[in-house]
């Protein structure tokens, strides 16, 4: 019972398990503990929902090429290609 109480009131542990569950496996026991916690804790339910959304957004951000936002300047590129040509001619 004291174990149960611990997870019931422990948001630190619950949010930790939420994160672990999204990326890996948690044990059956942890699964049950988390469910019990979430049933009684609306704050962690919000956290879980937002955390999943943030994962999606971060993935989306990294996947998008962000056109026009980050580009190398032309002079750098020109020098870079010249450097490559020099290396190529060495062989």
């Amino acid at each position: 019972m004291s174990q149960l109480k611990k997870i019931q009131y422990n948001c630190k542990k619950a949010t930790f398990l939420i994160e672990k569950k999204m990326l890996s496996r948690i044990t059956f026991r942890e699964h049950i503990e988390l469910r019990i916690h979430l049933m009684g804790c609306s704050v962690c339910r919000i956290y879980g929902k937002q955390s999943r959304i943030i994962n999606d957004m971060v993935r989306q951000l990294f996947k998008s090429s962000m056109p026009g936002e980050v580009k190398l300047d032309d002079s750098f590129k020109k020098e870079l290609q010249e450097r490559i040509e020099i290396e190529l001619n060495k062989n």
Binding site: Y9, N10, C11, K12, K13, T15, F16, E19, K20, L23, S24, V43, C44, I46, Y47, K49, Q50, S51, I53, I54, N55, D56, M57, V58, R59, Q60, L61, F62, S64, S65, M66, E69, V70, K71, L72, F76, K77, L80, Q81, R83, I84, E85, E87, L88
Partner: protein
């Protein structure tokens, strides 16, 4: 096109891939000069490996793999103060949760702030806030977080490459998300 037909053409590398590789780097290392250096180093390292290219992947995939290793080297160097960072992580967690019972401190309790139901994916304003929040993360956290979430790398591999213990790995993952979420909530309102 069959996989064997992949070929390398260093004469067009910069034109074809430099911007892509630069964007890839800048998302992972928020330092323009360092990112430029890494792109350059990648091409030069690639030139030395041209003979070993087997044509199994595309030119871009092959170059990106070389770049990825270089980025990991940077992360490694930056994370020499690793133990300290995880200690800080554990310590700072006390900001979010009551030390005695692990409950959210009321000032840090997550609240609904607008990402829950709007179509935020691709929302420009939100993306720029997200980027700003990502850039505030310590280098090691960013490394762990992106390697896991973006590159979908194996946890064991990340731990060995960044010299992080599995338990520290999860502390960092947890910590990163707590910070990221809090930063978004602060800045979105």
């Amino acid at each position: 096109m069959s996989a064997e037909s992949n070929q390398l053409d260093p004469h067009t590398w910069v034109k074809s891939h430099a911007d892509y590789l630069y964007a890839y780097t800048i998302k992972r290392i928020a330092d323009e000069e360092q990112a430029k250096d890494l792109v350059q180093e990648t091409f030069l390292a690639a030139l030395e490996k041209v003979d070993r290219f087997e044509g199994k992947s595309s030119e871009r995939t092959w170059l990106t793999a070389i770049l990825k290793n270089k980025i990991i080297d940077v992360y490694r160097k930056k994370s020499s103060g690793l133990r300290k960072e995880t200690e800080v992580a554990e310590h700072e967690q006390e900001d979010f949760f009551d030390q005695a019972d692990g409950h959210w401190r009321s000032a840090h309790a997550p609240q609904i702030f607008g990402i829950e139901d709007v179509d935020h994916l691709g929302n420009k304003e939100f993306n720029s806030i997200l980027q700003m929040c990502l850039q505030k993360l310590p280098a090691l956290w960013m490394a762990v977080f992106t390697m896991k979430h973006i590159d979908d790398a194996d946890t064991t591999l990340i731990c060995s490459e960044l010299k992080v213990t599995p338990s520290n790995f999860w502390v960092i993952i947890h910590r990163t998300k707590l910070n990221l979420r809090a930063c978004l909530q602060r800045n979105w309102e």
